[in-house]
Amino acid sequence: MSAVSAEAVTAGAVRSGGDTRPRSGGDGAAPLAPRAKLLPALAAVYRAQLSRARVARIPLLFVATFQSVGIMIMMRGVVDGGAEARAVVAGSSVLVVAFVALNLLAQYFGQLRASGGLDHYATLPVPPAAVVLGAAGAYASFTVPGTAVTAVVGSALFGLPMGHLWVLAAVVPLSGAALAGLGAALGLLAPRQELATLCGQLGMSAALLLGVLPAAHMPAPIAYARDLLPSTYGVEALARSFDARPDWAVVAADLGVCAAVGVVSLAAATWAYRRAAVR
C-alpha cells in the first residue's frame, strides 16, 4: 500500500501546520476544537469501512471471485499455456480488484453523495484525504482474498509456476490504489447516482475485456485503450511474474505506473470529495 501511504504522508505534512491546537480566530472568538489529524482519521475511516464491508460486501466478493474463476475456466477451452494463459490468469486476478475497488467504490460514493450522507463527514473536522483514502484503502484491502484465490486457482488450472505469486503483495495495493482512486473520483464527480453506477460498471467491463483477452490479437485503437487503463499495468506485472526468470525491472516499472496513477487518481478523488461536500 505504498502509494496510499505516500499520499497520506504528503497530505499529512501539508496539513499538520500547527493547526491542531485550539485557537482563536480573532477578537473574542471562541477557541476552535482540534481538527482530526490525517493518520488517526484515516485509520478510523478505514476501520469503519472495513467493518461495513465485512457485513455488506462479502456476498459481492464471492461474486467477484466466482466471476473471475468462471472466466478462467471458460478461457481454458480456448487458450492452452504460454503467454496467453499468463494474460488470462493475471487479467482475471486483477479483475477482482477492479470489481471491488472501481465498481463498488464508485457506487458507494455515488450513493453517499446522492443521499446526503457526505454531510456527515463534511460537518466533522476531518481532512478530505482521510475520508477518501480510508474508504479506498478498505475497499482495496477487501480484494486481497479474492485476488489471491483467483491467482492460485488460475495457476493450478493453467499449470503456471506459483513461485513468484508473492508479487501480488505489491500488485493488489498498487492497482487497488489506482482503481479505487478512479472509482472514488467517478462516484463523487458523476452528476447523478445512476451515472456513477454506470461508470463503475463500464470501468469494470473495460478491465475485464482489455485485461483478460490476450493483447497480441487486439486492433491498434483497442490496444491504445488498453494502455490507458491503469489496471493493465497491474495485469502486466503479474503476468511477467509467471516467467521462470522474470525481468524484475520491467515488473517494477509496471508497478511504478500503477503507483503514479494511484497518487494522481486519489488526489483527484480528494479534490472531487472537497467539491462534492461543500456546495
Partner: protein, 335 residues
Amino acid sequence: MKEAAAAATVCTVRGLVKTYPAARGRRGAPGTAEVRASDGIDLEVRRGEIFGLLGPNGAGKSTLVRQLTGLLRPDEGSVELLGHDLVRHPERAARLVGYLGQESTALDELTVALAAETTGRLRGLGLRAARAERDAVLGELGLTPLAGRPLKKLSGGQRRLACFAATLVGDRPVLVLDEPTAGMDPVARRAVWAAVDRRRAEHGTTVLLVTHNVIEAETVLDRVAVLERGRIIACDTPAGLKELVGDEVRVELVWRAEAPLHVPEVAALCDAAQAAGRRWTLRLAPAEARAAVAAVTGGPAFAALDDFTLTTPSLEDVYLALGGRAEGAEGLVKA
C-alpha cells in the same frame, strides 16, 4: 463581566440570501422556477438557549441550517458563530458545531458503538477518549444494549437516537439538530431532551433545533423563529408568540353525526366555525367560548355532541394567525 459574556450572542445572522437556480425540465417533466430559499434572514441566538426553527416543509429551515454549519455558501449576508465568520471560513463550523442531519446513510452499516466511536475520532478525539465518551453517551441514552447492532437493523427511532449519540461524542459548544426526535417513541424523546438539558446546565451548550412538531416546540424551546418561504415571519419565546394571537381560545366540537343546526345557538356558531367533517374548530374570545361551551353542553345540542375540547392558543394557531395559511398548515405536525 463574565456574566455579560455568558449572556452574549452565540450566532448572528445578517441579511442571509440563498437562491437555488431554476432547474431545466427533463424528458417532459416541467422545470422548476428559481427558489429563494433564504430571503434576507436576520437572526440572533444567545448562549445556552434552545433556539427553534419552526415552519412547514419547504419553508427554508434546512437551507438555513446548512448555511450555519458551513455546508452551503450563502449568496449574500453574514453568519458569525462564536466570533468566527463562517462565510469566509466555512471549514471552522465543523470545529464549533455538532450537527445531526436528517440522513444517516454514512453510518447505516456500522454498529451503534462503532458509529459513535468513529464520529468521535473524526471529531479529533484520541482512541481512548473516543471510546470513553462513546460508552458514556450510549449509557446516557440507554443505547448500551444495542451497541453491537448495525444501525440498518434498528427501527427508525432507534436509528435516529444512535445518530444523536454520535452527534454528542466530542463536546461542542453548539449543537445543530435537524428534527432530532423524528420517529422516536416518548422514552427515546425524553432521553434526547434530558441529554440536551444536561449539556446546557453543565457546559452552557447552545442548541439550534429544526422542527415541525409544534407541541415539542412549545415544550422545549426557549425561543423560536417561524419561517415561511425563506423569511422569518416572527421570532420570540413561545409564550410571546402566543400573545400575538391575543387571548383567543380554540374550541373544537365533534358531533355524533350532522351538526344540530335546528338549535339556534349552534346555528349562530356555524358561521364562525371551520368545519371538517363532523369536527368544527372555532377561535373565540374567552367569554364567547364559555358561552358556546355552555350552549352545546347544556341544551338540546348536547345529545348530538360526541366530544369537545377547549384549548389555549398553540404555536400552530400563531402560525396560522401570522399568515402562514397558504398550503403550509399541513406541514406542521401536531403530535
